[in-house]
Symmetry: C2
């Protein structure tokens, strides 16, 4: 076997597998190099075990020990299946080992079984992902310090799980372990949980966490752990608070890109501290033969983002003559909390940077009080929040908090990406009784407010549009006006 | 008070309330006549109590007696709230009594408190809904014969509930009472349940019912009931079967329109046995001053359909100068079973009547085996079934079976109504892991099959398109070709 390939993919997680399988399936010779397990974070320490645990924890007979064992069983089965399947794909060589780029077309691999191999290829794709950021808590023994990489290995649910970090990972696992009977506390330095989402979403999730008995320490910092007393010492609300009987600490304070030791600097691949590996809209780095997808880039750290990037890289590498003009698609964001949070489009901050506030119409529909499904299902927290351009009804950004927000958000991904205005969403019939019928109320509200205040809406629209076209504000594409 | 109104609405269910509130809120004087309860079937004997019961039955501590009491409590609270709110709407006179049309502008009302009032108006809207069709079971005492109008009045869950009729009502309540601990049997004369949906959906629901221990007697008919022995005698599979310990029988064999005693014939309103009151796309009957919405018409018997029709009637009556050219919107259909069934667009039969089978590309994605959400959630039944036109990717009809299909279907309502092809759905990023990511697989499958067999696809498309344009087949609009 020659060590000459069409493409070398470094990392067999979601993004890398998408590229490797996509190219191999159309006949390109691919080397896929993986240092740990096929499936990456998603299969091994992310989506698959966490969503399985969340699901089992919602069942009536939620037995923690059994649930954790089942999570490992399902994860191992999937990992074995993926390893076997990808090992058997024609044109795809799965190599276990560590990779380092030594030239724009060359990768050195240190296989798990020793030695070194030099591989050459026309293209190199970096998909090495990220790992949990670590945090040292003075006094905390290593066996009590968990991250998402270790938490699915524990045998029993903790008596009191302290979670440092109220992001998506921390919040999702807080619901799961609380449902399985653990006492759960979340400590975050920020004033709210899930800070990547609008404050309304944070508050809904905080309410839901508290209603379930999770204790939140916001604007707080962890000081130290006392192994003898099993207490976690937290600085909170101007004083020192002792969290008692803490037998496990989940550190979920963000992620760090796996970009060390890859030889990026020597190869000339541009990296910035904020965005990681810099790429164009089709994943190409500053070195034309080298691409990057997934968590090593600036994209949102989701499996679906990595997959979507991977598909675009496949298109670019395999069909370079196809036009590559499509802007990056919209990446939805989801937290699988209870209720779930889902968002797509521009965030309120992005909108504020780009548009004058008077040009924006914000609509908030409370799913608990304004939909009959909220009434029948005794829902306490939930909403659809839409930011749109006044008069035209063009949708800019949407956040949904609802039991199955993750299944509702694609409606708005489609609407925004296809530039379907609120006028047209008004004409859709939504099934009753569902949370989706809240979309009807969003459209009703927009139409009522727009039509009853038409002269004012028109003036506001023209004033800020004209100001914008004179360069007073950031430019929006001309096609922003609804079709 | 004069008895002269702008519009008289007969029936305060979903459709009638939509019209009455819509017109009153823009200053038209409306008389709303109701013979029973405000809220109609939906609030009183339909969606609200059934969805509340379904939700409570899914909770871990499903106590039947408590759940039924809670259902009545929530229904009564909502009914009282709606009665009070609609009684207080400006310009709206809520009158309890029976109405009869005596002339194109005149309605006689026999109020609940006696006497008769003659009301006149420019427009009359009939929204009297439907009632459960009755079925006589020899030997069955009246107190054991339930319909959806009486089942929410029972105090305790039956020991063995026999449900005659496997339509949406029968199936939804079968899941609910089974979850609450009743033994449940479904008897239907048809070979499958939910016959309005594609056979694939029926089979998934039958599997799920059986997995939960519900016994199905299909191709069967009820013979008689023996009160002494508490047995229901059923003709099934060529022999007589005795269902034992049956203490309640739910009759859910369809619905009959409430069109008697309204004076329709005398007024000249056209009625057909199949379609009920015949209307145009904006709800106008054969008498120009008289409109009809909801279950008295041929529309699908859903609250959301009645609401949508009501909105169009409001537009037609209040703004007659607005263009009334929009075709009727797409009405999704939903069964709140477990998993749920949702459908939108043309049914397989409608497609077969209109298009040559070779012009249709059918895509079936199994959500249990082909999505990771199916894997994490141990889903057994579930699919997305899409019928599209070959080559163009124009979507004609969709059926989804999934835990929250009701929240997923609006994506396709939007796609079909806005004529967004499968090529464009391919470019959407769906959150992972969700059942919605099955839509990605639908689009992938379409693209792969179309691109790999392009010459064949093109030939097939042109052959059947040309045949059609020569009149050999039913005509499709020219805009059927994807934009």
């Amino acid at each position: 076997m020659t060590d000459n390939f069409h493409t070398i993919v470094i990392g067999a997680g979601s993004g890398g597998l998408t590229v490797a399988y996509g190219l191999a399936s159309i006949g390109r010779r691919v080397a896929l190099i993986e240092a740990h397990h096929v499936g990456g974070d998603c299969t091994n320490v992310g989506c698959i075990p966490s969503k399985t645990l969340i699901h089992l924890a919602q069942q009536c007979d939620g037995d923690g020990t059994a649930a954790l064992a089942r999570v490992r069983q399902k994860r191992d089965a999937l990992r074995a299946k993926e390893t076997q399947e990808f090992g058997a794909v024609a044109n795809l060589s799965l190599i276990f080992g560590r990779a380092r780029i030594i030239a724009p077309h060359q990768v050195a691999v240190a296989p798990s079984d020793g030695g070194e191999r030099i591989l050459t290829a026309r293209h190199i794709v970096i998909a090495t992902g990220a790992r949990p950021r670590l945090l040292t808590v003075p006094g905390l023994p290593a066996e009590r310090a968990l991250t998402n990489e270790r938490i699915f290995e524990i045998d029993h649910t903790p008596q009191h799980l302290a979670i440092i970090g109220g992001g998506a990972v921390g919040v999702e696992l807080a619901f799961a372990f609380r449902n399985l009977g653990s006492r759960v506390s979340i400590i975050d330095i920020a004033p709210r949980v899930v800070t990547r989402y609008p404050p309304e979403a944070s508050h809904a999730i905080e309410e839901s966490l508290r209603a379930r008995g999770v204790t939140l320490y916001l604007n707080a910092r962890v000081d130290s752990y006392d192994e003898a007393a099993h207490t976690l010492c937290v600085e909170y609300a101007g004083q020192t608070t002792l969290l008692e009987e803490v037998d496990a600490v989940l550190i979920a304070v963000g992620r760090e890109r796996n970009i060390e030791g890859l030889g990026l600097e020597k190869a000339g691949v541009r990296v910035t501290p904020r965005d990681g590996i810099v790429t164009d809209a089709y994943g190409r780095t500053s070195v034309p033969t080298i691409y990057a997808v997934g968590d090593v880039t600036a994209t949102s750290a989701f499996t679906h983002s990595a997959n979507a990037q991977g598909r675009r890289v496949v298109q670019r590498i395999a069909f370079p003559w196809l036009p590559a003009r499509d802007p990056e698609p919209l990446f939805p964001g989801v937290v699988f909390s209870d209720p779930e949070v889902a968002t797509v489009g521009m965030s309120p901050q992005q909108i504020a940077q780009r548009y004058h506030p008077n040009l924006i119409k914000r609509i908030h529909i409370n799913l608990a009080t304004q939909t009959d499904r909220g009434y029948t299902d005794d829902v306490r927290q939930g909403f659809i929040l839409v930011d749109a351009i006044r008069l035209t009804g063009r949708i800019l950004g949407v956040t949904i908090v609802a039991p199955k927000a993750s299944e509702m958000i694609s409606f708005f991904t489609l609407a925004i990406q296809e530039r379907i205005s609120l006028y047209r969403l008004y004409r859709i019939v939504y099934p009753y009784p569902t949370f989706s019928s809240g979309i009807q109320k969003v459209a009703d509200t927009f139409l009522r407010d727009t039509l009853t205040g038409l002269p004012g809406e028109l003036c506001a629209y023209l004033r800020y549009r004209l100001a914008k076209s004179k360069g007073a504000m950031g430019a929006a594409p001309a096609s922003a006006v609804v079709k």
